[in-house]
Symmetry: C2
Subunit: 335 residues, 2 copies
Amino acid sequence: MKVTIKDIAKFAGVSTATVSKVINHKDENISQPTREKILNIMKEYNYIPNTAARSLVTKKTKTIGLVIPDIRNPFFHELARGAEDKANEEGYNIIFCNTDDRIEKEEKYVSMLIEKMVDGIIFTAASKRMNEFEHLRNNRVPIILVDRDIDLKDIKGKITVDNCLGAYEGVKHLLSCGYKNIIFLSGPLSTHPSIERLKGYKRALEEFHIPYKEENIFEGTYQSGWGYETVKMLLKKHIDFDALFCGNDLIAIEAVKALKEAGIKVPKEVGIVGFDDIYMATLVDPELTTIRQPSYEIGYSAVEMLINILEKKVKTKEKVVLNTELIIRKSTMHR
Amino acid sequence: MKVTIKDIAKFAGVSTATVSKVINHKDENISQPTREKILNIMKEYNYIPNTAARSLVTKKTKTIGLVIPDIRNPFFHELARGAEDKANEEGYNIIFCNTDDRIEKEEKYVSMLIEKMVDGIIFTAASKRMNEFEHLRNNRVPIILVDRDIDLKDIKGKITVDNCLGAYEGVKHLLSCGYKNIIFLSGPLSTHPSIERLKGYKRALEEFHIPYKEENIFEGTYQSGWGYETVKMLLKKHIDFDALFCGNDLIAIEAVKALKEAGIKVPKEVGIVGFDDIYMATLVDPELTTIRQPSYEIGYSAVEMLINILEKKVKTKEKVVLNTELIIRKSTMHR
DNA sequence: GTGAAAGCGCTAACAT
DNA sequence: ATGTTAGCGCTTTCAC
């Protein structure tokens, strides 16, 4: 039999109210002997309070929903770990959900999370269509947007990165190195960060007075395999380029592989810049020049922001933009 | 104001019992008009049932705890994704927890999960010391062990892989290729899979009549950096070897890097076998020969097994051992 | 310093 | 075919 607060109260010879007070550390007015007796009995009977019952009255669950495209994506598992670490520090748990950027899954998950009465949601939204989100209507669950900056009502905060600036710096670096014909192997352009990165790409070209060519943009996916196949195709079609600006490090790593297989030297013949700075960027040959994103910090800060809102400790800014950083390694060189 | 079942009942002019029945599809005895009226009103008012209240009476939460060392480890995020996919299929959610293989964190998390009344826990336990797990005493939450096969009472199931056999095949492959002096760059030997892999390593040596040497075993961690540093050290100390059997692919990839930097050719001078077959194994140069583990399936099957137990649909085996597979690529060669 | 009691939103016998 | 009612285990106000 599960032991409840009633049992503890009975064994301790006090009321459940008193036990409840010591459980929740609202025990300023409880005498030391009583407190101790209760604590001992709780330990003795291995008492574990029932959160569902508590939540029913407090309207708080101490759990947070994390809705991301795919935990297997290095960017997102770093983010997830950052979020979980902060949540754990504050006594919260995290329910994670993989949407694969599909709206139906997003809707289903958000609505499940609201049913479960999560205290808040950290959300990477697939696209702008989110505005039609029915479930958010009568709902008071605060949502923090991460990674993608989308206009969605009822959003309580946003944590992003300046993707445009990051991309701009990456492409500018390529240009300064002397690469001239830069292909952008982009992630899905339905997605906010990719759009911003494209802007940054254009801005850098402009600054260097290099005409922008639509045919240098290839829209792909963050699924494994796309980068490799695309570069193979480029080569086969004899499309001309001397540099690749990649939507993420995975694409970049795959690009390097395809190039190497074709006997093309990186960075001598083709320069490559990735995005994210995942751990692997450092382990491939040549080590990847990339735009670092503070993925762990994004998750960590998002939970921090959420908890600040929930516990009203501090007034928080509703929008935080973290910095990207150009990390120059061996896949680019001055020439 | 949040709308409750009472409100719906009132607006529909029926009792809460009736509403409850249609919510839970126990509505065989509800007339079609009533059912429809209720459904419409629920939609109209955007009614979302409160799971805490429901859980309090049903003792079920439709949520599962997932306790793993670190979501950033490729093996575990594949596993996590498999678990989440299956959970989602069945209408469950997953709370994930990172223990970093630390017992205190394991205990804290398990106890949080029990408080939250999760229906079950998928657990990668750090070590045998788990036997002293206090919190499991008065507890009826079913636990499925994954990855590590530990004797822990109250375990309802186990999903593992034959690490001994996997390692045996890997080392045997090395031996058959003609490599003779194989160093084992092991993960933490406090951990079940590492111990088993060591056994497999020994068994293969034995079969080839090669004496086992303790000094060929290096115990490390799965933290990034260890493999690289260790190989650097091996080289510096002029320790002799012509093959490396690695505790996981990360170690193997780092080893390749260290070797390359020293101008040592893989697989010509040194053969390398990894473990796990993470996606990156295929992207490094040379592509990694490795022992594949079905990490996604482990997670998926674990949730499947758990739900079978919870919903008593099928009698399940209490222990499942999935297969490893030797994947021969380019980091080993016959010579 | 401690307790009585109401109620959180829902489900599930049991009635009707 | 539908309603009545008694909890589930806890917190919280108010009274003592």
